[in-house]
């Protein structure tokens, strides 16, 4: 009976890695929202941090009877709480930058396709160059030019990512512009802005939307990498990346937990997003099923 039950259960479950990774991603987002409520400690509040309990191993019993399940970092901050709060920063930075990059990229793609000529040539040459260089290099060039800081890192990720959306959207918009309904709209003598926003953009936005999960994953990884290199978010408001970075010096003396657990949390987040993105893409694009 139990085997039959499991079989029914299995047949009811959607196929692929989707349910698990989607549930994991949902949990991450919930945790990020609830962090101030569920975190045992506020790592930004110096009064709550006990410096004398620094670098405690996982499972150590703290002074007030609270068990540091994942240990404490070099300043005495509870790792569980640092992960919860770091997650907020990581998600905040990546969601803002992905959203803005998508808007900028889609707009640039539609504008390039609609106006053509030198506007198109200029936009697409910049896109070509950017996409031909490794993202980390573009990000480093942007950071060197802009300087460090949380707003600059968002800007740097936007600079890195807009090009992908622009290229994809332009290709679709070009084929849309050749269609007769747009001739009709043009004959109505609607203002250009209205044609672009109400007619071209809604019809060419779909491929860009499928890119969003994948680019979100890239954004989180990029923010973490830049923060790790000391070029990202400031250390007093650590993201997951800078938390791992802060643990690096302790790794050599055997205090592995400071970088191990935040890194695992980061890996889980990026992997969940990538699996979800992979599934979304293969559902929407029948060709990529074979890929």
């Amino acid at each position: 009976m139990s085997i039959a039950f499991i079989e029914t259960l299995r047949s009811r479950m959607p196929r692929g890695s989707f349910p698990f990774s989607k549930a994991l991603l949902g949990t991450y987002i919930l945790i990020a929202f609830a962090a101030p409520i569920i975190a045992p400690q506020n790592p930004y509040d110096l009064l709550q941090i006990r410096g004398w309990e620094a670098s405690a191993a996982p499972g150590t019993l703290g002074g007030d009877g609270y068990i540091y399940w994942l240990g404490t970092d070099g300043l005495g901050r509870d790792i569980v709480s640092t992960i919860l709060y770091g997650l907020r920063i990581s998600l905040l930075v990546s969601i803002i930058s992905t959203a803005v990059a998508a808007v900028v990229g889609v707009t640039a793609g539609v504008v390039a396709a609609y106006f053509g000529g030198w506007v198109d040539a200029l936009v697409m040459r910049i896109v070509d160059l950017q996409l031909s260089l490794p993202t980390i290099l573009v990000a480093l060039i942007a950071i060197v030019t802009l300087g460090p800081g949380i707003d600059r890192i968002i800007l740097a990720i936007i600079v890195v990512q807009w090009a992908t959306y622009a290229r994809v959207t332009r290709a679709v918009a070009l084929s849309e512009i050749g269609k007769s309904y747009l001739d009709a709209v043009r004959l109505l003598r609607l203002p250009k802005r209205r044609i672009l926003l109400r007619h071209v953009m809604p019809n060419s936005i779909a491929p860009a939307l499928t890119l969003i999960p994948i680019e979100l994953g890239h954004a989180i990884a990029l923010e973490a990498t830049l923060s790790f290199l000391g070029l990202g978010v400031p250390i007093d408001k650590p993201s997951l990346g800078s938390t791992v970075a802060a643990g690096f010096q302790y790794l050599m003396t055997g205090q592995y937990w400071i970088s191990l657990f935040p890194g695992l949390a980061l890996l889980g987040l990026i992997a969940a997003i990538n699996f979800v993105g992979e599934d979304t893409r293969s559902k929407l694009d029948p060709r990529s099923k074979s890929l």
Binding site: L140, G263, F275
Partner: protein, 323 residues
Amino acid sequence: MLSIVTRRVSQALLLLLVMSLIGFVGIHSVGNPVFNVVNVETATVEDIRNATIALGLDQPLWRQYFLFMENVVTGDFGTSYVYHLPAFKLLLSKLPATLELAVIAMALAAPGGVLLGLWAGRHQGGAADRAILRGSVLALSIPSFWLSMMLILAGALLTGWFPSGGRGATLSVAGQEWSVLTGDGLRHVFLPALALALPNVALIARLARAGTIEVERQDFIRFCRAKGLSSRRILFRHTLPNISIPLVTIIGMQFGGMLAFAVVVETIFAWPGIGKLLIDSIQLLDRPVVMATLTFISVAFIALNAVVDLLYAVLDPRVRLST
């Protein structure tokens, strides 16, 4: 063919020129590098002024830029504010370390990725295929800095099999120091090369798998089967050459990507290559070295892409004949 390559390279170089201008203005607005050269606590106003004049920072920005570009064309990026060596020479002295790291990493990644991809593609839908596919998504999700740290933890600190950083013993050949020529150096290069290789194994495997599935469906493979060729011979003599173009592209591009990603891996493994030099220089506001390194990596990447384009003609008779 050749004209396409030249046009693409010249376009890229033109854009690099524009980017160098933006970068020059940007880096100038970040902070005054004079304060890295003089000791802020003891320097008098006179000292600061002398240093400013000596570095040419008293000139208007446009003149600094033209002077800079004039020198760049002759391979002169100025003198490092920190090491007091010519920036380009400093860069070249760090280049062998990065090159050998990237070559070893690619030597691990390319055969590994191709074999995994062929295997997965041949057994499409099977357990091994699904495992390789899932594994590749996971491998591409691991942040490279964390992977490097965990490799240090597992490979060096817990087991003691490999050293945790540095280049180890080197052998001097052709005026440069090489780690790969000594046993100790090879032990040192293994962990950082593995960290660089792993995401590339995943990338190459996915591409090889997709190509294999597509090619093995075609008639000429069916004909090979009908002829009674062994499945191994079909895979390596008929399928592999037909998927070589995208593979060469990704291997070429990822090799350039490794030069850039070495920034992360070198920083963690204290590997004295150009990536570590770049990060150190950014943090020390060592402008000539930053500009030299960024320019070098970008140009190297563009050159690599051009080489890959030319390789198409060698690998694919169809490309050669179409021009």
